[in-house]
Symmetry: C2
Subunit: 391 residues, 2 copies
């Protein structure tokens, strides 16, 4: 096990009806003038936004609103948010939505107190302060409610870049599984895939002797396998929604990833798909991950056989562990089909002729130096082969 | 799954040599005048205390020392610590040791800024503030390094009482597994038992639909089963020590217990053993837990069969789940023997004639109202039967 630090100071308020307490928690964490940041339609239609405003009113906390966040959140809205926050003397950013809204809120929180262009903070300049952020989460997926991460797409050149800092960890996150019950199946399934990908990116590692984090990774995966089909069948299965929502946080606050080298190649490979075809991140991961697994499996078949047997319940073939490994990957792919995710270029309208450019961008874009991933270091050529396996 | 809040803001610094950074973290969390609190012999002999002092000196942070903490930490030393902290203008308590030292430090931290007798805070008065506490952990066991809990024994009547408050969560905890390599086998094994007990107390619950926390509980247990025999055989197995040490934190910061009713009867039943015979808490738990399991198993045999099959790898007997449940309990008992823990009254010098009094104290002592536990609510009579099963 490698040395590490782990710091997840976010307060989580979990369960039915907890969104009505949001005002209390904004107050607890010092908010006296709030920027209320969200996307659009669904939080308004569902009545969630009204509940949030009512709760802020009840505590006498003034707020200004900034809506319009969309998937793969853009820099333009972040600049707008920073200007608004500065001119209105905002001291707290409240995100009501999913990963995109939270990531956009984190960018505004850091940018408002940064003396310069916020994009610097997504281009290598370390974040040294940020306004406090709180969240009311509406989709189990990105894990941004408990993570130090934020990904923003710069409209100037469509660069998609991430940053991370403990200053960006939300002060509190309200997780009410009921809020996820009205999500379309596709979004629910994309979220589930994202959660599982967050575990796989951490699990596939060359660091030896990581039994505790291996087992925690497996715990999250087994939970997803049991609960996901339930919510696809019945979106109003509260307990299944609850298990998935908490698993989504656990999968990405790094509890299951400490002390080990992590991979993250599949996320880079996927980012090009969602940038090029505006496909949901989770759906892109459903296309990329099984292909990545097939491509790198031979690097350490036993690690794949471990997932096949422990997580998918496949009998170990002791004469041929690679067979077991392959069965596990196939099972993952079947599972993705079962929850109605795409697993091929064809299904998301991606084109073979775009492969060389996407592979180049994945390896050299965003300041890349030619290789991505750690479990296996992948060159542009390797990434092309992985895309081809996903055709 | 039940509604819950989860807040574990402690920063964990984990790995080889991390104790030399303690000064830096005291500074980070605002310490300018430190009470350095510890037990005695081992932290001095090992050179750990000198390293800690050197690190504080390096950051120019003055400190006063208070040693003498012993297992089942006493109120007398807490009063001494509070007086010292008040007279010296202490603003940070640094614990160097195990659960007892950390619990004693937490008591001093709360008592120093409380206007009254600190024992009030262990008798029902809620804690509303405390000095910041940091820890350098020397034994994987109590989980106090990441928990809001503290247990103190009042010498006036030998009352052993616990309290809990998020104000008592350490600001940071330094976990270097190497520091645990020189522990005697008995203490190591008692710590391992304590860690497993923290999981069982959470696992055995009547709350339905808790897949994610069930799986996380099982992850910790399986890790202990794999790693514990390694450190009993070779105390210098760093990776096994590391997995156990992190599992000890995970087992008790409540990550594996949120959203469910928890039991905690075994801890109450054990407390009377350690109070009466001054036996290590973990060793007392090794005596109590298998007996408790046998006694309550019929309440929900499937829950025990789940542990038997998923954790101990026993084949499920589908015609007779109770048989499977019993096999799992037996396997736990064999495991405890394997790591050289006692599992009977005889082995710890406990006496049958003390049973009625201990059972009475367990149910009615410390403000008890006659029943303990939640998985099964136990009366004094039940507790007597459990003690008898452990003869």
């Amino acid at each position: 096990m490698n040395n590490f630090t782990f710091h997840s100071p976010t307060e989580f308020i979990f369960g039915k009806g907890t969104e009505t307490e949001v005002g209390k928690y904004v107050k607890k964490y010092g908010g006296t003038n709030v920027l209320l940041h969200y996307g659009g339609g669904s939080v308004i239609r569902s009545g969630l936004l009204d509940k949030v405003k009512e709760s802020l009113d009840k505590e006498g906390i003034p707020f200004v609103e900034l809506s319009g966040v969309r998937p793969n959140p853009r820099s333009g809205l972040v600049y707008e948010g920073i200007n608004l926050a500065q001119s209105e003397g905002i001291d707290f950013i409240l995100a009501v939505g999913g990963g995109s809204t939270i990531d956009s809120s984190k960018a505004i929180a850091a940018g408002t107190v940064y003396d310069g262009d916020f994009w610097d903070l997504y281009s290598g300049t370390p974040i040294t302060k940020a306004l406090p952020v709180g969240t009311v989460l509406t989709i189990a997926a990105a894990g941004s409610e408990g993570s130090p991460d934020s990904v923003i797409t710069n409209e100037n050149g469509m660069l998609k870049r991430g940053t991370g800092s403990d200053y960006l960890r939300p002060k509190f996150s309200i997780l009410d599984p009921e809020l996820t019950e009205t999500l379309p199946t596709y979004q629910t399934a994309a979220g589930i895939t994202d959660i599982m990908a967050h575990v796989f990116e951490r699990f596939y590692s060359n660091t030896p002797a990581t039994e505790i984090t291996d087992r925690l990774c497996e715990a999250v995966l087994k939970t997803m396998i049991k609960e996901a089909p339930k919510v696809i069948k019945n979106p109003y299965d509260y307990d299944a929604r609850a298990n998935i929502m908490w698993a989504g946080m656990v999968a990405h606050n790094n509890m299951v990833g400490v002390g080990r080298e992590q991979d993250w190649a599949s996320h880079s490979i996927e980012h090009e798909l969602s940038a090029q075809y505006d496909v949901a991140h989770g759906a892109g991961l459903a296309v990329v991950m099984p292909a990545w697994m097939r491509y790198v499996m031979k690097h350490n078949p036993m690690k794949f056989a471990q997932i096949a047997t422990r997580v998918w319940g496949i009998d170990m073939d002791f004469n041929n562990p690679e067979e077991t490994a392959i069965k596990g990957i196939k099972r993952f792919k079947s599972f993705l089909h079962k929850i109605k995710m795409p697993t091929s270029f064809a299904e998301i309208g991606a084109k073979e002729e775009d492969i060389p450019e996407m592979a180049h961008k994945a390896c050299y874009g965003n300041g890349g130096t030619g290789t991505i991933g750690n479990f296996v270091k992948l060159s542009q050529k390797d990434v092309e082969e992985i895309y081809k396996l996903a055709l």
